[in-house]
């Protein structure tokens, strides 16, 4: 009787301990905790899928959404005469990619699209983009197709007034968009994000798809 009682008590203690442990696990979120991204998660929204106008890119090959299928793509719109926001964004993306394993970084393509194709020649655009990373792709849309191309991604831009020397600045949406290997938008970020934040999001995404 005494033995039975002790066994039962021990059994109860174990049950209570198990329930408590389970509760702790649930409370600490060990079960099916959604990953918290540093960038804005847009994978469940109505963000546009990757679509490119099929313009010749850096190496004079046509860069198309189809040719990028299976890779992660970071799309960013800007212009080469931008001394602050664009180079800051591209520098941070380059540093973030360097925090990934080489094989992971090799699976990510950064595409810089000019919103100033009248001033940015393809040659200058390539030189500019490669100054950050030789694997970055420069894309110069035809000035006629740029409005449609940009609006597909809800990217806005406007040209400032020309100064005496003919220089002008261009205001533009500064978000970069991260697309998955299936061409769907996953995350959006900006130059205000830290290199570490961008890198940790990319690492998580790319790893899962390995």
């Amino acid at each position: 009787m005494a033995i039975k009682y002790r066994r039962a008590a021990r059994y109860e203690r174990w049950t209570v301990a198990a329930i408590l442990a389970f509760g702790v696990l649930v409370l600490t979120g060990c079960f099916s905790k959604p990953h918290h991204f540093n960038r804005v998660d847009v994978s469940h929204g109505h963000e546009p899928a990757l679509k490119l106008p099929g313009e010749p890119n850096a190496s004079n090959q046509t860069v198309s959404a189809r040719s990028l299928r299976g890779r992660w793509v970071i799309l960013y719109f800007g212009y080469t005469h931008c001394p602050n926001i664009c180079p800051t964004t591209l520098a941070k993306l380059n540093l973030a990619l360097h925090k990934l394993k080489p094989e992971q970084a090799g699976n990510v393509r950064v595409i810089f699209v000019s919103v100033d194709p009248k001033r940015d020649t393809l040659k200058e655009l390539v030189q500019y983009t490669h100054a950050f990373n030789p694997h970055f792709v420069a894309l110069r849309p035809d000035p006629k197709t740029l409005p449609q191309f940009a609006s597909h991604y809800h990217v806005h831009y406007s040209y400032g007034q020309r100064d005496a020397a003919g220089n002008y600045s261009v205001g533009h949406s500064s978000e970069f968009m991260i697309f998955g290997p299936d061409g769907h938008t996953r995350l959006m970020g900006t130059y205000q994000d830290s290199v570490e934040e961008i890198a940790s999001d990319l690492q998580y995404l790319v790893q899962r798809q390995d």
């Binding site: 080469t80 005469h81 931008c82 001394p83 602050n84 926001i85 180079p87 800051t88 591209l90 520098a91 941070k92 380059n94 540093l95 200058e124 030189q127 500019y128 100054a131 950050f132 990373n133 806005h156 831009y157 406007s158 400032g160 220089n167 600045s169 261009v170 205001g171 533009h172 949406s173 500064s174 130059y191 205000q192 290199v195």
Partner: protein
């Protein structure tokens, strides 16, 4: 006359120490593209100073700029005056305040130094060497 000169010299020496510049660097872009200059400007004095402009002998133009967000777009605006309160530090940093330099008079290379002079409303001028960095740099370290 000598006393006036001496007073003037002493006052200018004191003034030179009022503002100091540190962590100064520029991000060089290829060709004749505009470069952005960044630094910390420290007001060591006990009164406010106002930054009103910049000049750089290696570039045709040097302008104080700030990036702002307006109607969902980021754009650069020229800033005519930037006050720095006593004992405060003003940061020119990627994404915020920057000195736009364009176009270069000569070809600069990373690891070189280029001089930039900051101008203040009270006539004070502070010249500092800025380290030339490549496109991918994010700070002057």
């Amino acid at each position: 006359m000598a006393a006036t000169l001496l007073a003037l010299l002493m006052s200018s020496a004191a003034r030179a120490g009022e503002v100091s510049v540190s962590q100064a660097w520029i991000r060089l872009l290829p060709g004749n593209l505009p470069a952005g200059a960044y630094c910390a400007v420290i007001n060591n004095s006990d009164h406010a100073v106002t930054l009103t402009g910049a000049s750089a002998p290696d570039f045709k133009n040097a302008m104080l700029h700030k990036s702002i967000t307006q109607n969902g777009m980021d754009k650069m605006v020229h800033v005519a005056r930037i006050p720095i309160q006593a004992g405060q530090r003003l940061r020119f940093a990627p994404g915020g305040y920057h000195i736009m330099l364009m176009p270069p008079h000569k070809s600069l290379k990373p690891d070189e130094r280029t001089q930039i002079t900051l101008k203040f409303a009270d006539g004070q001028r502070v010249t500092a060497p800025f380290e030339v960095k490549g496109a991918g740099a994010m700070n002057g370290d």
